[in-house]
């Protein structure tokens, strides 16, 4: 009879019912919080249409975004276009982006930061109350950095290396988000204009722009090799002086030095090699470190995978930076020693975001501990007064950092970076990053320029990463990455911007 087979069938069906139950629970319990904050969730759209929305303030309490309910529809006004790529927009027509999206449920009051109050509110079916956000960004520094970039396309990312609090994050060109967040009936035209603009103003370059880094990657190569013991601060490569003029032959391919501007080649250890930005030296360092450790360190520093700014359930996304051709969401293997040697000085297939490079600088500034970046400092009760309420409902502190290299390795890299800006040889290349030029006396900045060759007739991207103050035992207060698309040499465009931004912050922080 078939009864035995029916019993076996029963087991399979029971298993199927269990699997389907699991998939229901997955969406209703596990994924529910993530779904609740997505901009195209009808619940969010419905709330956004009519509910007042919380105000967003900068760290000093100035209004950056506020809402009015007009004809039953909530409309958003933004006061400062320098913040557009951080705050994003909240449009009745196009959904939301940036902080407007990640913190949507809090801004419209659907989620209470306090779970108990949320439960009570749910049970009593209370009307949601909007809540305000205070950012870690300082409007004074943000506007200053935006003005420094001026009409150029590029990005400035500045953060506190100790906490990961982002102090400024500018992407240019930017746009005014108010027209597309206002009356939904007239929002289409300005949006179309932005979408069709060849300068790509909608791209948040600081987080999502991918650029060849050039020589700023040498900071990573140095720190990783020092930590692994592949080099010491005094280590030299005997063939390097000769190869500076003749070229360094790797697997039959000749790696050539960039234009040293008349500086005579010598047997350079780390500091002078970083000061003159010797490609030959760092090619040797990368090869001494080896392909596998090189990628392993890169992953520790956050390369090879997407990054997040803020707690991961409400993060602003950062594109993955890659050192090699991506493979299955990771950095693929190096194709050979030529690629490894080129990646060691930031060429080959390397593509990075300004945020990633700012975190690299912050990790060196933080004695080898890379902070977790965040942009929202706290949640407050709603205030219509134009200043933040005193009632803090929730605080998003630093998520703690992660150690990426030893203190010793970071310190040795830091000394070389101080020399790169202030040393006899370094001044010729990165001297414009010197903060004393911009009115800060007795303090030193550390840094490294990058001139990312793009091949062909394209002008190179101009880069600078650094931090200040960096002399002796000083505790760095700001780490920066500056990128100017096709801005020419790192020393010409990015270095002075970085120097002025660091100087401005030290002045602001000291209350001057």
């Amino acid at each position: 009879m078939i009864a035995t087979n029916v019993r076996r069938l029963g087991l399979y069906l029971m298993l199927s019912f269990a699997i389907v139950s699991g998939s229901i629970a997955w969406w209703q319990v596990v994924e529910a919080p993530q779904l609740a904050t997505r901009g195209d969730n009808p619940q969010v759209i419905a709330a956004r249409r009519s509910l007042p929305r919380g105000t967003i303030f900068d760290a000093s309490g100035q209004v950056l975004a506020s809402s009015d309910v007009i004809d039953g529809l909530s409309r958003r006004t933004y006061t400062d276009t320098a913040f557009t790529h951080v705050i994003g927009y909240s449009s009745l027509r196009f959904g939301s982006t940036g902080i407007e999206r990640s913190y949507e449920d809090i801004l419209v009051g659907q989620t209470d930061p306090n779970p108990i109050r949320e439960l009570v509110g749910d049970v009593l079916n209370r009307q949601p109350e909007p809540r305000d956000l205070v950012l870690t960004l300082d409007r004074r520094l943000q506007d200053f950095a935006a003005a420094e970039l001026g009409g150029d396309a590029g990005a400035v990312v500045a953060l506190d290396p100790a906490t990961g609090a982002i102090l400024a994050m500018v992407s240019t060109p930017t746009f005014d988000a108010t027209p597309i967040s206002g009356d939904p009936d007239v929002a289409q035209e300005p949006m179309d204009a932005l979408r069709n603009n060849a300068a790509e103003p909608l791209l948040p370059r600081a987080r999502q722009g991918l650029y060849v880094p050039g020589s700023i990657m040498k900071v990573f190569t140095a720190a990783a090799a020092l930590d692994a013991g592949a080099i010491t601060p005094d280590a030299t490569f005997p063939d390097q002086p000769r190869e500076e003029s003749e070229g360094f032959v790797v697997d039959g391919f000749t790696i050539r030095e960039h234009d040293l501007g008349g500086i005579a080649p010598a047997l350079w250890p780390l500091s002078p090699a970083l000061q003159v930005s010797s490609n030959i030296f760092f090619a040797h360092v990368g090869l001494a470190l080896g392909a596998e450790p090189f990628l392993a360190y890169a992953r520790q520093f956050g390369f090879c995978a997407p990054m997040e700014i803020g707690p991961s359930d409400r993060a602003l996304g950062v594109a993955a930076s890659y050192l090699t051709a991506p493979l299955e969401g990771d950095c693929g293997p190096f194709t050979g020693d030529v690629e490894l040697a080129s990646a060691s000085f930031g060429q080959a297939a390397t593509q990075v975001t300004p945020v990633q490079m700012a975190l690299l600088a912050a990790a060196i500034a933080g004695d080898g501990v890379m902070p977790r970046p965040y942009v929202v400092r706290d949640v407050r009760a709603h205030s219509d007064a134009g200043t933040p309420s005193e009632t803090v409902l929730d605080t998003f502190g630093s998520g703690g950092g992660s150690r990426v290299v030893s203190t010793e390795a970071a310190r040795a890299t830091r000394i070389a970076m101080v020399d790169a800006v202030n040393g006899e040889l370094g001044r010729l290349f990165a001297g414009q990053g010197d903060i004393t030029l911009y009115g800060i006396s007795n303090q030193r900045a550390a840094g490294k320029t990058g001139t990312a060759q793009l091949g062909g007739e394209q002008a190179p991207h101009s880069w600078f990463i650094g931090f200040a103050p960096a002399q002796d035992e000083a505790v760095p207060q700001i780490a920066v990455a500056v990128l100017v698309e096709s801005g020419g040499s790192g020393s010409g465009r990015a270095a002075p911007i970085a120097g002025r931004v660091m100087a401005e912050w030290l002045r602001l922080a000291s209350g001057g």
Binding site: A3, S23, W27, V29
Partner: protein, 445 residues
């Protein structure tokens, strides 16, 4: 014919008699802000149908399974509550001068379905008509399929409907039953002859030709449905039901494996060559890639699940419409489950799945106790069909498998679906009754 008291059935139905009107009342309060009666008469009508069905089974001395009707009644009750809660102009009837809203129309179909169920459960004393005319049934099936191919019109991208004046019919719903009858009869006849025969190629034992040919024929029908009618759900359901019956008839897991391999290969080929299959799969893999375009329905369904959470938003408090439109198109048919999960939460969703599980396991019990192979295989086929249909549509709603446009039995709106499902229940009850009578007869002799 003696009266057969069905105490267990009555006790299990009692909570439904209370909860369905209560659900209507809660919905009424949530939607209007105060209790004004609203469409409570529909809930009372539904209870009356169940009472009537129960009493008729008692009076007519039916000895069949007593858990089936309560399980169906509970699923149908949840369905009625949800359909009453949704906008009533989503569907409905306007014929012969009568205008009925969606819930009222569904209730009407429940009435028709229960009558069909009772007629079959009580009237089908001899299953010869099912068993001996198997090729007539096969011909009827091909006719139904052919009619759909020739006369069918498209709804939501799939060509499944035939217009018959006042009502539209989905032949696929009835084709399902006809196929199950044919396969049960075919397998019952050939099973003893063929379980001993086996061909081995490597580690797979290939079914003997008489098994293999109908399997291939059915496979061809299924692929036709996928490609010509763009109805992946029905195809999966037919083939899954067939493989389940084949497994029970032979006990050979390898036959099922071969069937699955055939299906996957066929599907992969279809994926390569037919754009609409590709689109379905791509949407399934990443619905969030285009949440306002191609992925609109599945994404909105997932949001509804998320909104429901564990406890649900409460009856009448889900986000069914937004700015004048439905938040999920086809919420009353393909996505009724997400509406239940949104308003009644994970607990309600599990309850619904639990009732379906009760139905399935009672169906399997009926199969195991059946007096002959044909009845057993028929019960297995009917049960598998109802069970798989439930699993496929809920799995599709929750992105476990690609989304397909089939109904959730007894819950989704739809006359063809309700009627076909009740016919299947009628057949199950008839088989169950026969074995109960037989067991008594054996004991008495």
């Amino acid at each position: 014919m003696r009266i057969a008291w069905r105490g267990a059935e009555l006790r299990l139905l009692l909570p439904i008699f209370v909860l369905v009107p209560l659900g209507f009342a809660i919905t009424n309060v949530a939607l209007t802000g105060a209790f004004d009666g609203g469409p409570l008469h529909l809930a009372i009508g539904y209870v009356a149908l169940l009472v009537g069905a129960h009493l008729l089974l008692v009076v007519l001395g039916h000895r069949g399974d007593q858990l089936i009707l309560p399980a169906v009644g509970a699923m149908g009750g949840i369905g009625m509550i949800m359909l009453n809660r949704l906008p009533q102009d989503l569907a409905g009837t306007s014929a012969f001068g009568i205008e009925l809203g969606m819930a009222a129309t569904q209730l009407l179909w429940f009435g028709v379905g229960m009558i069909a169920m009772l007629v079959i459960a009580v009237g089908l004393r001899d299953d010869g008509i099912l068993r001996h005319y198997k090729y007539s049934w096969a011909a009827a099936g091909i006719l139904l399929l052919g009619a759909t191919l020739l006369l069918g019109y498209e709804v939501n991208g799939a060509r499944l409907w035939i217009d018959l004046g006042p009502v539209s019919v989905q032949p696929g719903e009835f084709l399902k039953i006809v196929l199950v009858i044919f396969i049960a009869s075919y397998l019952a006849e050939t099973r003893t002859l063929l379980t001993s025969a086996r061909l081995r190629i490597g580690f797979l034992s290939i079914p003997p030709l008489p098994y293999f040919l109908p399997m291939l024929a059915l496979f061809a029908v299924v692929m036709l449905i996928v490609v010509r009618l763009n109805d992946l759900g029905t195809a999966l359901l037919f083939f899954g039901t067939f493989l389940t019956m084949l497994f029970v008839a032979t006990g050979r897991r390898s036959y099922v494996l071969i069937g699955l391999i055939l299906f996957v290969v066929g599907f992969t080929v279809a994926y390569q060559f037919f754009g609409h299959v590709q689109i379905r799969v791509d949407i399934w893999l990443d619905p969030f890639a285009d949440p306002l375009g191609a992925g609109f329905q599945p994404v909105r369904a997932l949001y509804a699940l998320g909104r429901g959470g564990i406890f649900g938003e409460g009856l009448g408090q889900g986000l069914v419409t937004l700015g004048g439109g439905l938040t999920i198109p086809y919420v009353h048919t393909d996505f009724i489950f997400t509406a239940v999960a949104e308003e009644l939460g994970l607990l309600g969703a599990f309850a619904l799945l639990g009732f379906a599980a009760v139905l399935v396991f009672r169906g399997l019990r009926i199969a195991a106790l059946a007096r002959d192979d044909f009845s057993g295989l028929l019960a297995v086929g009917l049960t598998a069909s109802l069970g798989l249909q439930t699993l496929i549509i809920i799995g599709g709603n929750t992105k476990l498998i690609p989304l397909t446009g089939i109904t959730l039995p007894f819950v989704s709106y739809g006359g063809s679906s309700v009627l076909a499902s009740f016919i299947m229940i009628g057949l199950l009850l008839a088989i169950s009754h026969k074995s109960a009578i037989g067991a008594d007869g054996d004991a008495g002799s």
